[in-house]
């Protein structure tokens, strides 16, 4: 039986990391905040914590350890929580790996990089890596200034999976004491499919590319930008994603249902089953402005770490994904560079040429057999 979680190392001092630090401090956990970005840490070190504005109140969260030294951050922590964009997973996990002990739980939120993390851990000498993740960040939040963060929403539904699948339950029992909102799924294949941003950001961004560039993003991304025909394209992406998940025997739900479960849209939209209604009736997303330019994570993260992994898994499962593939291509052309170059491919996870059977076996049983 693992020791109850009291001390948590948080990797990442952006919006997600600082929000987690603030929230979990208010819940009574001891937070040890780590980043490699000294300029992000310095203002927090100066005041010894973070000021927050959140649904659970406004205040100052005192953070006992704020450091750019990974060993210091992780010393004595029961839980090591990585809170970063997917393209930084490699960097953060490589920093954490040398100091990770067997009694620590490695929790990546959001994860949805499939076998990338085990691959990096193995490259760092951990032969039988174990970790867990959520499909989405626990917060709708932003770092609003050098010493402030704003949390507009704390998630009450997060898809949770572990690697290997046989270790999911044990890790779930630990993480759910920190985040009761996590819902247990079988493995990290089931956390990759509900990564909502990957479903809708690339098609919506492509269909609003002209407006983003012409106006510098002077419109509401979801409410104005996701019109009926854009919604139909999102629905087409979602049908392909579900077909891939089905072929790999992964549990997943339609995007609109997921969006509803996460509390982002109405019962009426849920019943319509279409993405346009889901976004048009989304109160939390209504006022979110469009990004000011196309060089933005809606393409830069959600294509290489979202659409491309669905396409890769489709190939592995023998399921065609034409809509997803065409969006990948056109997003690349519109940016003037190949988004597949640094993408999360099976090759990048050390799984080039893997068969479907071997892949599913690895996910469930890990590298120990």
């Amino acid at each position: 039986m693992a020791a109850p979680v009291q001390s948590i190392a948080i990797f990442g001092a952006g919006g997600g990391g600082t929000s987690a630090a603030a929230h979990l401090t208010t819940l009574g956990f001891q937070i040890r905040l780590y980043s490699q970005d000294e300029s992000a840490l310095a203002p927090l070190q100066e005041i010894g914590g973070i000021e927050y504005d959140a649904p659970f109140g406004k205040g100052f969260a005192k953070i006992p350890v704020i450091t750019s030294d990974a060993a210091t951050a992780m010393a004595g922590a029961e839980l090591v929580m990585i809170v970063s964009p997917a393209h930084l997973h490699e960097k953060w996990i490589s920093a954490a790996a040398p100091h990770l002990t067997d009694d620590q739980t490695l929790f990546v939120s959001p994860g949805h990089t499939l076998m990338l993390i085990p691959h990096i851990l193995r490259a760092n000498g951990i032969k039988n890596p174990v970790f867990c993740e959520t499909a989405t960040l626990p917060y709708l939040c932003r770092r609003t200034g050098p010493t402030t963060c704003r949390i507009s929403r704390v998630s009450d539904f997060m898809v949770f999976g572990g690697f290997p699948g046989v270790a999911t339950k044990r890790q779930y029992d630990i993480v759910s004491t920190v985040y009761p909102a996590v819902k247990e799924f079988s493995n990290v294949l089931e956390t990759v499919f509900p990564y909502g941003n990957a479903i809708h950001h690339p098609p919506a961004f492509l269909c609003n590319a002209g407006r983003v560039e012409a106006t510098g993003g002077d419109f509401r991304h979801y409410y104005d930008g996701i019109t009926p025909s854009v919604g139909r394209l999102i629905d087409a992406v979602d049908r392909e994603r579900i077909a891939v998940a089905d072929a790999l025997n992964a549990k997943t739900m339609p995007f609109v249902e997921l969006f509803y479960q996460m509390g982002y849209t109405t019962e009426a939209a849920r019943e319509s089953g279409i993405a346009y209604e889901a976004f048009h009736q989304s109160e939390p997303d209504k006022w979110i402005p469009a990004p000011p330019q196309l060089e933005h994570r809606y393409f830069l993260e959600d294509v290489p770490y979202g659409h491309i992994i669905y396409s890769e898994l489709g190939r592995l499962a023998g399921v065609p994904t034409p809509t997803i593939d065409h969006i990948i291509h056109l997003a690349s052309v519109s940016l003037g560079r190949d988004l597949t170059a640094d993408a999360l491919t099976l090759e990048k996870m050390g799984l080039a040429g893997v068969t479907k059977e071997r892949f599913l076996d690895l996910l469930e049983n890990g590298f120990d057999n």
């Binding site: 492509l206 269909c207 609003n208 394209l233 052309v333």
Partner: protein, 367 residues
Amino acid sequence: MTVQKVTILGAGHGGCAAAADLTARGFEVRLHARREESLAPLREQGGIQAAGVQDGLFPVHLLTTDIEAAITGADIIMLVVPSVAHGFYAEALAPLLTPDIPVFVNPGHTGGALHFVSELRRAGYTDPVKTCETVTLTYICRKTGLASVEIFSYTKKLKFAAFPGKHAQDMFDLVKPLYPKITLVSSVLETALTNINAVFHAPGMLMNAGWIEDTGGDFLFYREGITPAVGRVIAELDAERMAVAKALGVPTASFLENFYQAGLTTLEAKDSGDISRACVESEPNWKIKSPPSLDHRYIHEDVGYGLVPFAGFGRLADVPTPTIDGIIHLTSEMMDIPYATDGLTLEAMGLGDLDAEGVLKFVEEGA
């Protein structure tokens, strides 16, 4: 033979402009429309009121909804309708047409003449037929009222080809007096692959779909909508189009070159190689607003009757067209219309069973 009696099928912008212009220049014009409502205002006024290249009220020799009356005694039939209507007119003409009356598809866009003849054959017409086409309409014009039209100019250096190609010189000599600015090109494959509307309208619509639907098209399509990213997609699409043309041995020029030659942008913009800039600096297009919805010929015609045949020619030539295919697929999902099968396929152009060499022979011989 010289043309004196011209039948114009279609009384939209182009049909009315042609009827007024050719009447003004002494031709005997018979103007046909499918619906009497289109013709009634013209009858009431006693002709078409034109401004621009021609100025005045021009009484058209015959206004009719009867296609047989319209073509009887004609020296040439000019089909001035959107690509999507070519099939309808082919079917209507099949029992009436005789081999001595050539058909001028104005404009043919991509594959207009091939499609028209294929539909004519399908409708049971077995005699020889001579057709020809221009890539775009012979006029820059716009209807300004129910019975009035503004003709800004004749289209310059307009590419013209005949099908079957063996009649090219005859057809050119026939049409040249009507439209002195046409230039004869190698074949209908060259006019087909010169269709610039398909090259830039479809990416412009796809990448501004949200803006169009959210605001009812409340922005300037070319000046604001063709941004650098949209320009990059157009450039990639254009490179695929040119690769297809090259593989088929069809002479071709870049979008920028064609756009500049058509008088639609500045030399500086052309030389910059930047399609976004060329569109932003297109003075004739400056004030042109976006379509109010996606349910518009910029998609229906320019995807279905532009990109779909481009992709078909690409398969024929064994040249990959991922950007063209992508736009076809995504607009199909968005419109819920399967353009790849509903649009102008190789089959619909009568080229379904042929290889590349067979197609080249077919466009020359007509069989």
